[in-house]
């Protein structure tokens, strides 16, 4: 039984959301530590010291050769054993935005029950052809095994990316992902009833900000422990961050719905590790 799970927050090489990601885990009751990628690579630190791993957003390696490609390779080759052991130990991993791109390119997402570090999907250029910075509405698959999203129906949070269009080689791959309930979260039309927004047909811009197939915003691995998403729930941790927060009375509740994702992981670690 872990009372205060320790979270490794990767930083370095252009990751730039490490501090806020560390902060939300602290708010959720964990102990965060920002660890430079190289410290895991050169063996100064080991992932086994931690209960949760977060790969934050940013522009790792300047997005050269494609978003997440170089950090993905670094983790795939130089941290392979540590990562495999981490997953085997049943410890949760989250990748947000660039971190999601990294986990996809590392091969951890959509992944296999036992990681084989083969890339099976990609996140590529937005259909709009440009970087999109806007708030979106997300809905979650209630039957997903994802431990990060339990009890969440719908949240609003921002996307900030140029390469967020989720693609896979064939519809068979997507169907398999769907059947496993690994399509954890999708962009939805906010005018639909909560719980009824999920649709396979790609929604028009800007509801689906990047043209993702089946409006996919985030997926998990078959175990539900590894989760990645393009939107930034850590940037929706407080009610006053919402762009419309002044349009209503002052909200006495400070923490917002985005926090639930981080609380879920902390509670999971407390109960299971």
């Amino acid at each position: 039984m872990v009372e205060t799970p320790k979270v490794a927050i990767l930083f370095g090489f252009g990751i730039n959301c490490d501090r806020e990601t560390a902060a939300v885990f602290e708010l959720a009751g964990a102990e965060s530590e920002r660890v430079h990628v190289n410290h895991f690579v050169n063996g100064e630190r080991d992932l086994s010291e931690f209960h949760i791993l977060a790969v934050p957003g940013g522009f790792s390696f300047g997005d050269h050769l494609g978003s997440g490609r170089l950090l993905g390779n670094r983790m795939r080759f130089a941290m392979r054993e540590q990562l495999a052991a981490f997953v085997a130990a049943g410890k949760p991993i989250i990748g947000i935005c660039n971190g999601f791109q990294v986990l996809v390119k590392t091969g951890l997402l959509p992944g296999r029950e036992v990681p084989d570090f083969e890339q099976r999907a990609s996140l590529t250029l937005n259909n709009s052809g440009r970087y999109e910075d806007r708030w979106v509405t997300l809905e979650f698959d209630p039957d997903s095994p994802c431990i990060w999203t339990k009890g969440i129906t719908r949240i609003e949070c921002p996307v900030r990316h140029g390469e967020g269009r989720f693609v896979m080689p064939s519809t068979t791959d997507l169907d398999a992902l769907d059947e496993n309930n690994q399509i954890v979260t999708r962009y939805v039309d906010p005018t639909t009833e909560p719980g009824e927004g999920i649709t396979d047909e790609t929604l028009p811009f800007p509801l689906c900000p990047n043209g993702s197939i089946r409006n996919i915003a985030g997926i998990c691995d078959p175990t539900g422990l590894v989760f990645g998403l393009m939107p930034h729930p850590e940037a929706a941790y407080a009610t006053f961050l919402h762009p419309h927060h002044t349009r209503s009375e002052v909200n006495e509740e400070i923490l917002a719905e985005g926090m639930q994702i981080f609380r879920n992981a902390v509670e999971y670690a407390q109960a299971n590790l």
Binding site: P204, T246, E249, I254
Partner: protein, 215 residues
């Protein structure tokens, strides 16, 4: 600021513009205001409109189109900044008590442009009357750029509390946010400006459209 966006034929260049930004610490960021009008608000002007059209946007516009000469008369002055500070402090207190959620400065284009921007931000209509105290004529009250003025929106149920908080300050009731989609500016009984909010949005945003009409 200089800003290019897009590529090739699709490039939009913002002309180099000098921008001033002010930064400060907030006790509680939840108790802040934005310029977009919210439904059910009454509108007040903090500060005074004087006959100060000198070097204003409207005078430049009219002089460029050849409709007038000169710079438009007296330029804005701030003879008594202590008085401004006092009303800002009162307004700040009102904002920090949570009863004011809407405020916007009056700069280029004066009150007429400020209220238009507030309608554009809130995507809602408003009706205001610029007739009021002071020596300024209609031009001065519509387009004048007198310093230190703030247009404020207050929910109707908070009006009494707001008036009490602003007691002794220069404050003029201007009008109301409406349920309609039109901005109406009155001078007493005369309707001076009537403008559809969607049309104003298009005028403001249209020149930046690179999406082929998708918003």
């Amino acid at each position: 600021m200089k800003n290019d966006y897009g590529t090739g034929e699709n490039k939009i260049s913002i002309p180099p513009t000098l921008l001033f930004s002010l930064f400060g610490n907030h006790h509680d960021v939840r108790y802040t205001t934005t310029s977009d009008l919210k439904p059910g608000e009454s509108l007040y002007l903090v500060g005074e409109s004087k006959q100060e059209l000198g070097a204003s946007e409207i005078s430049y516009m009219l002089s460029e189109s050849g409709e007038s000469d000169g710079i438009g008369g007296e330029v804005p002055r701030l003879p008594n900044p202590e008085k401004n500070l006092e009303s800002y402090k009162a307004l700040t207190k009102a904002i920090q008590s949570g009863i004011v959620r809407t405020a916007h400065d009056c700069s280029e284009g004066g009150i007429a442009v400020a209220i238009a921007e507030m309608c554009i931000g809130g995507r809602c209509g408003a009706a205001i009357d610029v007739d009021g105290p002071g020596e300024a004529d209609l031009w001065g009250r519509l387009w004048g750029e007198s310093l230190g003025r703030i247009l404020v929106g207050v929910k109707q149920e908070n009006r009494a509390e707001f008036l009490a908080a602003m007691k002794g300050q220069s404050l003029t009731y201007m009008g109301e946010v409406t349920d309609g989609d039109t901005l109406s500016v009155w001078d007493g009984d005369d309707l001076i400006i009537e403008s559809n909010v969607e049309e104003m949005v298009m005028a403001w945003k249209g020149s930046l459209d690179m999406t082929g009409g998708v918003q």
